[in-house]
Structure formats: structure tokens, C-alpha cells
Symmetry: C2
Subunit: 153 residues, 2 copies
Amino acid sequence: MDTENVHCCGSFSERANLDKWIERLQSTGMKLTAPRQAILEYLHNQSHPITNREIYNGISNDCDLASVYRSISLFIKIGFVQQFDFGDGIARFELVEPGSHSHHHHIICNVCSKVIELDHCFPDSLSETIAKHTGFTQITHKLEFFGLCSNCK
Amino acid sequence: MDTENVHCCGSFSERANLDKWIERLQSTGMKLTAPRQAILEYLHNQSHPITNREIYNGISNDCDLASVYRSISLFIKIGFVQQFDFGDGIARFELVEPGSHSHHHHIICNVCSKVIELDHCFPDSLSETIAKHTGFTQITHKLEFFGLCSNCK
DNA sequence: TTTTAATTGCGAATGCTTTGTAATATGCAT
DNA sequence: ATGCATATTACAAAGCATTCGCAATTAAAA
């Protein structure tokens, strides 16, 4: 069993981890509101990137959808959340554990949308290595670079 | 001067290349319509991936925007066009030269959106190599994998 | 030329995301 | 504790890329 994806609701360590996020939020000077707490808690319980609507559904009537969008934008701006693009036009988000090796990728099934986190970055020995690690086949990937060009730096 | 990006309107070779695309379209059994010719011609004159709206504006009143979307979808389905995602929620498209090394990537300036084609795939020796080749700095990249998981294959 | 089916134009609708605004709640100072 | 100033929210509406339905048109074959 893959214990990485187990999240026991209410366990001491999980609660402590969530409290750290709340402390971090307060230390930024931003207000600690009920929607932001609910969103942080929900994000914290996920093991894969999730959409704004999934967050909204997950915390149901605790908060408006527009507030989810605004909170997530804030979390991205202060470095709490990382955005992923799975190519379907819906943004997905994940908490960034501070100090951890946050740079990672995913492989998504074209049929069932199953997501597997790739612990390491395999940019070179691409298809074969990933196929062996995950059991996926017909592997493709999207790769784009961003930066500052010589005129703009 | 980088002659790869020079496109002389009406030159013999350019016209011959465009005619090849038209012949290829006819050979698929699809109808050769005015909008499809205009879109192929416009795509053919570009050196970077372009959006549906850019195509629509480029051929102005020759064709409806919805028809651009439909034609591009067709071109993707028959392998004429490749789609790129620069992370801004707008799909971009490029003609795929048959038999060529079509797999490539781009680097996009975060400030001015300048696009540079990367002739080769540098998935491993990432930032330094690209920085040397392009003069870009603060390089980041987005990479996601797609495929069929073991349950779906 | 006639026929037939693919394709277009037009308008409306969809779905994700953003924005305007009045009401509300937070954090701070008193 | 209480009141204040301001950030934040809920709600509604708008924005934008994209898709769809359908009648009118057009390309390709007979």
C-alpha cells in the first residue's frame, strides 16, 4: 500500500501540519478567514492537484466559488500553492511544502484521468523510464519553457 | 540573419510548398474550401505557433471564427497541425512539416511573449544550455506527461 | 447540370475565470 | 470588551475561449 497517499483525518501530525499553514498565512499579514482556512485544509488533505471547482465542492457551502478563485490566486502569489496545467483548460493546484523538493511532474491517463506523481524529474530518459515506473503506455508529454528574453531582462 | 524565419510572399518555393499542403488536403478526401485554403496559407507563412483568433484576424473576412476552430480541429485530426500550450489558456497551432523532426519546444518571454523555437529537445541539461543558446534568463519550464494507465490500456 | 453530402455562417450556448459592489468580518487600537 | 478601518466576502454579472445547432451554401462526383 502506498502510504504516501494516506491522510488520516484528525491525526495529530496532520492537524499540526495544517496549523503550520495557518500560522504561515497569519505571518504574511493576510487575514485568517473561514474560507481561507477551509481551502487550506482541503488542499492539505489532497494528494493530487485539484481544480478550483473541486475545492468549492469539497468545502461545499462554506464559501463562494469566486472566493475560492481569489484565495487560490492569493496562495499562489505568496508561494503557498503551485499551479499545474494538464492540458484540458482547467487549472489545478497543489500545496507547496516549504523546504521540500517541490519541483515535480505528473502523468495523467488520457482515458480515466488517473494522476500519478513523479517523485523525480525524468526529462531525458523519458518514455521508457516512466513506462517502467508507472505501467503507463503510449506516453507523450508537453514541455514549454518560460523566462526573460535578452531584450527584457 | 536567420533565414529560417524569412518568408517571401509569392516566391516560387513558398508557393510550391503551399501547393503541396493543398494537394495533401485533397488527397485526404476532405473538401478544398476557401476558408481551409486561406487558413493553410496563413499558417504556412508563420514561423511561430499562432492562435485561432490570430488566424481569423489574419485572413479577416474570408471566414468565420467558428470555421477557423473547426478547420484547425480537422487539421489536427489528420496530422497537418500540432497544438501547443503556452500556459495562458489560449491554444496555439503550427503546421507539421511531413517527414521533418517535428518534435520541438519553445521558450516564451514572460514579459514580451517573444517566442523562440528550440530546434532540439533539451529535457535534461535544461536551464544552462537553453540560456546559452537563446540569451534567456530566469528560465522555468512546464512539463506534463500523458498516456494510458495500466487499467485503461 | 444535377445531385448529394460536406461545410460554412450565424447565433446562441457552454464552461472556466474575472470583476464590480455592497455587505460583512477580521485584526488592531482604544 | 468595544469601536474602527480596511481587507475580504457573497452575489451577480461580465469576459473570454471554445463549441454547438441549424439552415444556407458550396465542392466534388455522377
